[in-house]
Symmetry: C2
Subunit: 176 residues, 2 copies
């Protein structure tokens, strides 16, 4: 399928260290002009970590954006010159001190395709061994271990409200 | 649980008709100062529409943000002075010309809680009757009907890449 919009111009309207706002002048398929603003952000990774014990490592994390504590799987941004898998290894290590040599790439998702270009890459990490986490000062994180059955129930019953974390868990289910 | 950050100041750093960028000066739990930027957006609704025939209505929609065609369920923003359910009724009507008198509220999700405060409210609409859609000019949308089994397979196998749509479908599964 072809791209139905024509881009006439593009510029960065606002910027911060985590994302830019890109503003495009466009022509719609009917020829009418418009403006599209895109939150332009590097890809991210979400990792479902299954330990050798069979438990899944879940985070309970305070999110300032929504002023709420959220159940999530480890996640983070892909840095420049990193592959998604390299970022996934790094995030698993930073967030829960985890290591794995058994990785499965589950696929991509779009977190918020109405406003943002972010692509989330989902990984399943098996045989995870835990060490010391190295949290950034803005991250308020508790590390929990729960059985696969309990985590699947949490994802299915809307107890995991971070959409990407819940979807990552449900997409990993055939491999659990 | 209490809020672990202290907000020192807040202002709107950038604005467009769809969202604002709110910039807060904060103190982290360790007392160190920082800045948090929040994409501040009205809540949205995602509707899983099941027809009297038993089929689910799915959209295939071009998303300029990611330059891709995406399978999705009907979705849209909650306007001021609207309840999420009123917005869901309106979006179902606008996007697929649909009506339903059999609604189930499935619950909330956070679409992108690392950067954005958006809350998505998921609804299941059963016994949907289709009429004429009324698309906005920026929306490039095809309307499809697929069996429940096919839609569940699409959601489970990462063919539905809009995370909120895929999760909405999987959360509705016990009711389908």
């Amino acid at each position: 399928m072809t791209k139905p919009f024509t881009t006439l111009s593009t510029h960065i309207a606002w910027s911060c260290p985590w994302y830019d706002i890109r503003q495009d002048e466009i022509l719609r398929p009917d020829g009418s002009p418009g403006v599209y603003n895109i939150v332009q952000k590097a890809p991210s990774v979400w990792i479902v970590p299954v330990m050798t014990s069979g438990n899944i490592v879940l985070l309970r994390q305070y999110r300032y954006t929504v002023d709420d504590w959220c159940w999530e799987v480890p996640a983070g941004g892909v840095k420049e010159a990193q592959t998604p898998k390299e970022a996934a290894r790094e995030e698993l290590h930073e967030e829960v001190g985890g290591h794995s040599t058994n990785w499965t790439s589950i696929g991509p998702l779009y977190t918020a395709n109405g406003i943002c270009n972010e692509v989330g890459h989902i990984f399943l990490a098996r045989e995870v061994e835990l060490g010391q986490a190295a949290h950034e000062p803005a991250e308020i994180i508790e590390i929990h271990q729960k059985s696969i059955a309990e985590v699947l129930t949490m994802a299915r019953t809307n107890q995991i409200k971070d959409a990407s974390s819940a979807l990552a868990i449900l997409l990993c289910q055939p491999y659990l």
